[in-house]
Chain length 186, copies 2
C-alpha cells in the first residue's frame, strides 16, 4: 500500500461517509481506517487523537463543503431561482439522492467531544446564513427571510429522514424540487 494513498480531503470524505452512516460511537477506528484503505497505526499517524481528531477534520470538511457548494454558488450570477436550483442539485448529490443520512444529524449524536458539537452547529449556522441571504435578496424582510431559511433546511433534513426511513427517495427529491420557489419567490 505504498501507492494509492489518499490526501487529507479524500480521507475526510471517506470518514464522513462512515460517520454519517454509523453515528459517532458506532464508527469504530477499525472501520474508519478500513474505509481509508489504511492500517490503524497509519491512521493514528495522521490523526494522533484518534476518532476525536478525524471527526473534527470531518466537521471542518463539512463546513468547507457548504462554503463551496452552497455559499459560493448562491453568490454567482443568474436569476435567483436558477442559482438556488444549482445548490439543490449539489445537495441532492451530497445526500445520495435521499439515501444518505445527514452528517450534521448523526455525527452530533452522543459520544463526541464538545468541540465537535460546536463545529457542527457552526456548519449548520453557515447554511442558515447562506439561505437567509438569498431570501433577503429575494425581497423578504429579515424576520421572514430567517424563517424561510430555517424552514427550507427543516424541509431538507426532515424529508431526508422520511425518505431514508421509508426507503422512498421521492419525498426528499420533491422537497429539493420545491426549494427554488420556496427560498427565491419568482
Amino acid at each position: 500500500m505504498a501507492f494509492s494513498r489518499l490526501n487529507d480531503d479524500e480521507l475526510a470524505d471517506r470518514a464522513l461517509d462512515v460517520f454519517r452512516n454509523y453515528g459517532y460511537e458506532g464508527s469504530s477506528l477499525s472501520r474508519l481506517a478500513e474505509s481509508a484503505g489504511l492500517e490503524k497505526a497509519s491512521f493514528y499517524y495522521r490523526y494522533p487523537g484518534g476518532k476525536k481528531d478525524i471527526a473534527l477534520a470531518v466537521a471542518a470538511r463539512v463546513s468547507a463543503w457548504f462554503e463551496e457548494n452552497v455559499v459560493e454558488p448562491l453568490k454567482g450570477a443568474g436569476p435567483l431561482p436558477l442559482r438556488v436550483n444549482r445548490v439543490a442539485q449539489r445537495l441532492r448529490k451530497f445526500y445520495g439522492d435521499g439515501s444518505q443520512p445527514c452528517v450534521l444529524d448523526t455525527l452530533s449524536l452522543r459520544g463526541g467531544p464538545p468541540e465537535l458539537q460546536a463545529a457542527l452547529a457552526d456548519a449548520l449556522q453557515a447554511w442558515v446564513a447562506a439561505f437567509t441571504s438569498i431570501a433577503l435578496e429575494s425581497g423578504f424582510n429579515r424576520i421572514e427571510a430567517v424563517r424561510r431559511a430555517q424552514q427550507a433546511i427543516i424541509n431538507i433534513e426532515g424529508s431526508l429522514v422520511l425518505s431514508r426511513v421509508s426507503a422512498n427517495p421521492g419525498i426528499f427529491l420533491r422537497t429539493l424540487a420545491g426549494l427554488p420557489a420556496f427560498l427565491a419567490r419568482p
Copy 2:
C-alpha cells in the same frame, strides 16, 4: 438486585433512550444492560439474541407509543385543533422538548437487521396514516391530506434536527405550536 426489576416495557423504554442517543452500532450491550440496571448475563436471559432482539422490542414499543399517543388521541372527542394540540404535547414530551433525537432517525442507522428497518418504516407509516386521517377529517382532499401529513412530520423531524444540532429548542417548539393550524385548518 432481586427487587426493583423492570418489566419489558420499562426495559424497552430505557433501551429506546440509549438507542436514539447513540444509534444502533453505538449502543453497546454493556450500555443497554447498564441503562436497565441489569448485568449483561441477565440481559441475555431476557433477549437471547442480544442487541438485535432488544432493538426489535424497542421498535415494537415505538409502534405502541404512536398508537397510544398519536393514533388514539386523534380519534377522541373535541374540536380537531384541540385534539392535534394534545398530540403535539405528547410529541413534545417524547422528544424531550427538542433535546432528544428521534429513534426512527437514529435507530435506523447502519448496523441493524433488515427486520428492524422494516419495523421502523412501519411505525413511521402508521404516524403518516394517523396524520392523514386528521387532514382528511379537516376537509382536505386525499392527495392534499397525505401531503400535509408528510409535511407535518417533515416539520417535526427537521426542526428536531435543527434544534438538537444548534442546541436551540425554540425551533422545534415553534413547529409543534404550529401543528394544529397546519394539520387541522380552523
